[in-house]
């Protein structure tokens, strides 16, 4: 028996989405539908080691899981810029979107349809040259040009000249330069890249397409590599892809399964629940979805065999799994994630919604002792979700999440007594999490207290209807407070007054006595104006740049006691011992 065996049969275990610079692209990612495709099908009929992602590349526009509008956009661009023949200024297209959204597939498919030649940049393999360049002992051959230069050469040449006509290769006058790998130098030194781009724009005549994957985090790659002024200057067209929608994904997956079933007679289709789960777990990443599907269908087969061995009652097999699905959704989901699903971070918007709407199940939990009469008003139906799982999946810090909850809860409460309960718990949470020596541990408890308190306080199910969510005002309030304070204190140093007295006693009157020297902003008089709402939270917004508030607040020195705990960091502790 083998200790380690590949889960994909005896093929390579290299899971697809891993992009390695240096590995030869065309091997990993064959041009879809290139003549070798049909070839493979015939030759390796029973061979399971191929990745489905590679084998089952889409062959027609209808196969694409991408939204038709996006496909049309790309097609339009190709028509207007490429098919019209070599042009003077190199048209540049930038495709952005989350990984696995089908950017590359769309482009390559369309290029093939229009029989365009695609020339792709692949980061060169060896990286040792930098060191060995001035090292005489190094072998001669290892000396190479810097990557950036190579890239520049490639881009200039590729965008100016057609490739040589090789025997057998389909000859076309039109071609496309594709850059998906960016030499690492450019991430460090963007201006270099920008210079190359400008140059190419001037001299090139074949269109250049850049594909940049964005991650959900605050990834600034697009912004760094293609800042908006550059986009304007070079007339870069941008088409941004969204993550693949669930329905499209489902269609694509069943399409892949159909193909697989046609390819291999022994193939067992995974059941519907399985597909659904895959769709859910992959969070709009078609590549990982197909991989996961392949993997999980493999598992089904293994499960089945093991069950056959273990149990005599084999009749259930596959079915038993799908029935258990319903009962233990949480556990099942966990297993799917183990099986290589994406680690989905809930969008902030949805995370907040889950806590604020607080859906409860219809029926009571059985087997619990009844509450004593004096606690009857505390009785609640079991919650559908655990707030901790939501908090865990949410990419925010505990502190920031509490602020979000605090900002948004009143809209969801019908009674002021409920608000009172919420605020009490929020107050508790703040006290719990601001004990600075134990902050790291306690902040989780803090957010638990806040979210559970909020969910408990809500007695009535919120009446349907969508309510907008807002970003917390606290950070901006804090910033304004600090800047007001700094300016005022700076301006009236000569008043020899403690800050509190300056603000509560002298300044207000100073305003009235010398209205012309009005330095203090006036109170907005009306209730409505004071209640000017903060920024709305966009649905897709995953990361809230909470740093803005915090980092700007930190460096300033004069602070009142309300903000002091914010400032405390580990440094303080150290410093206690190194004096006297």
């Amino acid at each position: 028996m083998m200790w380690v065996s590949s889960s994909f049969g005896d093929g390579d275990i290299d899971v697809k989405p891993a992009k390695k610079s240096g590995s030869i692209k065309s091997e990993k990612r064959p041009f879809p539908g290139s003549s070798s495709h049909g070839h493979k099908v015939v030759e390796k009929e029973e061979y399971e080691g191929d990745l489905w992602v590679e084998v089952n590349q889409p062959i027609s526009v209808a196969d694409l899981a991408v939204h038709p509008k996006k496909v049309a956009q790309v097609q339009e661009w190709l028509k207007s810029h490429v098919l019209s023949g070599p042009v003077k200024d190199t048209p540049i297209l930038l495709l952005t979107g989350p990984p696995g959204a089908g950017k590359t597939a769309t482009l390559k498919l369309l290029a093939r349809q229009e029989s365009l030649e695609v020339q792709e940049w692949v980061n060169p393999v060896t990286e040792v040259h930098q060191l060995s360049a001035d090292d005489p002992t190094a072998p001669r051959g290892s000396r190479q040009l810097p990557q950036a230069t190579v890239f520049k050469d490639f881009l200039l040449r590729a965008s100016q000249f057609t490739s040589l006509c090789m025997a057998g290769a389909p000859k076309s006058d039109l071609k496309l330069v594709l850059v998906e790998d960016f030499p690492n130098v450019f991430y460090r030194d963007r201006s270099q890249f920008h210079d190359v781009l400008r140059h190419v724009r001037e001299v090139g005549c074949f269109p250049v397409v850049f594909i940049v994957s964005e991650t959900s985090g605050n990834d600034s790659r697009v912004r760094d590599l293609f800042p908006s002024e550059l986009q304007l200057q070079l007339k870069v067209d941008v088409i941004s892809f969204n993550a693949v929608a669930a329905t499209n994904m489902q269609k694509a997956l069943s399409c892949v399964l159909n193909k697989e079933a046609a390819r291999r007679s022994s193939f067992k289709r995974p059941d519907k629940d399985r597909i659904q789960e895959v769709v859910q777990v992959s969070a709009g990443d078609i590549r990982s979805a197909v991989n996961l599907l392949q993997f999980s269908s493999l598992r089904v087969a293994i499960d089945r065999t093991s069950k056959v061995l273990k149990k005599a009652s084999t009749s259930k097999g596959n079915m038993s799994k799908s029935t258990t699905n319903k009962h233990k959704p949480v556990k099942e989901k966990a297993s799917a994630e183990q099986n290589g699903g994406k680690d989905i971070s809930l969008f902030l918007f949805r995370a907040l919604g889950k806590i604020l709407y607080c859906k409860r199940s219809e029926e009571e939990e059985r087997g619990l002792p009844p509450l004593p009469p004096h606690l009857w008003d505390q009785k609640r139906l079991p919650m559908l979700i655990e707030p901790e799982t939501v908090v865990h999946a949410c990419p925010l810090s505990a502190e920031a999440l509490c602020l979000f909850l605090q900002q948004n809860y009143p809209e969801f409460m019908s009674e002021v007594t409920e608000c009172e309960t919420v605020t009490r718990y929020l107050s508790d949470a703040d006290v719990v999490s601001s004990e600075w020596s134990a902050r790291d541990t306690l902040s989780h408890y803090g957010v638990s207290v806040a979210s559970r308190g909020l969910m408990h306080a809500k007695t009535a199910v919120s009446k349907g209807g969508w309510r907008p969510l807002y970003k917390p005002e606290w950070y901006s309030v804090q910033q304004k407070f600090l800047s007001n304070r700094r300016t005022a204190v700076g301006k009236y140093v000569d008043q020899c007054l403690p800050a509190v007295e300056l603000f509560t006693q002298k300044l207000p009157f100073l305003n009235q006595i010398h209205p012309s020297r009005n330095t203090k902003p006036r109170f907005t008089a009306s209730l409505r104006a004071a209640n000017a709402r903060p920024q709305k939270l966009e649905e897709t917004e995953a990361i809230f740049d909470e740093e803005d508030g915090e980092t700007q607040a930190l460096p300033s020195l004069p602070l009142q006691q309300c903000t002091v705990p914010n400032e405390i960091d580990d440094e303080v502790i150290i410093e206690e011992y190194d004096s006297d």
Binding site: L403, P410, E411, M413, E415, V416, T417, C419, E420, T423, R424, L426, S427, D430, V431, S433, S434, E473, F481, N484, V489, G490, V493, D494, C496, P498, A499, V500, E501, T504, Q505, K506, P508, F509, L510, N511, Q512, I513, R517, K520, P521, F523, L527, A530, N531, L557, P558, Q561, C562, V564, P565, N566, I568, E571, V572, I574, E575, E576, D578, S579
Partner: protein, 400 residues
């Protein structure tokens, strides 16, 4: 002027207390950023509060006995560390400045503003502004937040190590005036205690705070405590009259007593109010409205909004107003106290106790927590809920 004092100078106007409304060039030297000498011409803004502030112990208009005692204390040529405490607007600072003048002469009134930079052992930069004369330096170490210990130590060390220029004609020590001592962290207070002992030969400390309850006993016992009680309403009235006489204005006694009443025995506030009244309307009328601080009016409106309706929506509106107050740098504990006084007026007897208890509870929370809005809002919500319950019960009783 001592070079030790001047670390860095900015283009912040220097201050001249002694000669009001006169421009005087002040030379500032900088050690760190090479030698740059600048002259500042400043026109002092003339508020009555500053204009009629007594400058010598003889001219103080109340607590005269205490003033005489202080004078005797200084006449001996030396004095211990002082801890001056008393409510806001009682005249602590005035007395301290008078004392310093008694000690060093008119030179203490030539003040300059200095910016000091300190670096903590953990390489954190602290910038703090001080006001100093040749003989004393005034600093509010609590401006440095949690790093106040460094400021206390370094500053005193700096002052104490610099010798007086001419010790034959002058006192042998300088004075460091620390304000808001009650806001210092415990750490800083202990540091202060040690430094106090170490440099007792070359510098005296005058600590100034509202209440000694937050000052550690070790410091209290090392200082001579000087309590400056708030002036009585009559004393305030007579001072207001004196001010008006000097300004050449006629002040109806009714208005004076009403201003004194509104000021809450805070002389600074009383004089400011009087001047604001004068700007608003002169000649004075006895039934003239006394001008209040804008935030107090705002706070009252907020309290009214809370009392008039109790709903989540109103809570949201009140939150907006609380934020407004916070951005105007009104400290949260002042807000909660102000709200309480306003709210309690519209409460029934037994409710008063309950509301007060909750206010105290949430003010305590405020000190423990880090984000004031949680606790302020919790207090408002608590009040709303109590008050609504009270109203509902009242309604139910009426129906029966």
């Amino acid at each position: 002027m001592h070079p030790e004092f001047v670390r860095r100078c900015d283009s912040v106007p220097a201050k001249i207390v002694a000669k009001k409304n006169i421009t005087v060039p002040v030379l500032l030297k900088s050690r760190d950023s090479g030698c740059c000498e600048r002259e500042h011409f400043v026109v002092r803004m003339s508020l009555w509060v500053d204009k009629y502030r007594p400058t010598s112990l003889n001219k103080l208009s109340y607590h005269t006995e205490q003033a005489a005692q202080l004078k005797r204390l200084v006449q001996n040529g030396d004095f211990p560390h002082l801890l001056v405490f008393g409510p806001s607007g009682a005249g602590k600072k005035t007395r301290i400045m008078c004392l310093l003048r008694e000690l060093y002469g008119a030179g203490v009134e030539k003040l300059r503003i200095e910016h000091h930079n300190f670096t903590t052992p953990s390489k954190k930069k602290i910038e703090i502004t001080t006001i100093a004369s040749n003989y004393h330096i005034e600093v509010c170490p609590s401006d440095a937040g949690v790093q106040d210990r460094v400021v206390v130590q370094e500053l005193i060390k700096m002052v104490a190590q610099a010798q007086q220029l001419d010790s034959s004609t002058q006192r042998e020590f300088k004075v460091v005036l620390l304000t808001e001592v009650d806001r210092l962290t415990k750490d800083a207070q202990h540091a202060l205690r040690r430094t106090m002992e170490k440099y007792v030969t070359t510098c005296r400390l005058i600590l100034c705070c509202e209440s000694t309850s937050k000052v550690i006993p070790a410091i209290r016992s090392r200082c001579l405590g000087v309590r400056v009680p708030a002036p009585s309403n009559e004393q305030i009235c007579s001072i207001l009259q004196t001010v008006c006489k000097k300004e050449g204005l006629a002040l109806p006694p009714e208005l004076a007593s009403r201003v004194a009443d509104k000021s809450g025995r805070n002389l600074r506030r009383a004089i400011l109010m009087l001047e604001a009244c004068k700007v608003q309307q002169y000649p004075f009328r006895p039934d003239q409205q006394v001008v209040e601080a804008d935030w107090e009016v705002f706070l009252r409106e907020t309290a009214n909004a809370i009392v008039s309706q109790q709903s989540p929506r109103r809570l949201l509106e009140v939150r907006g107003r609380l934020y407004e107050l916070l951005t105007h740098c009104i400290p949260p504990d002042v807000i909660i106290r102000g709200l309480l006084t306003e709210l309690i007026d519209s409460c029934d007897g037994q409710l008063k106790a309950e509301v007060t208890q909750w206010a105290a509870y949430y003010e305590h929370r405020l000190q423990l927590g880090s984000k004031s809005i949680y606790h302020l809002e919790a207090f408002v919500a608590k009040f709303m809920s109590i008050y609504k319950k009270f109203l509902d019960e009242g309604m139910a009783a009426m129906m029966l």
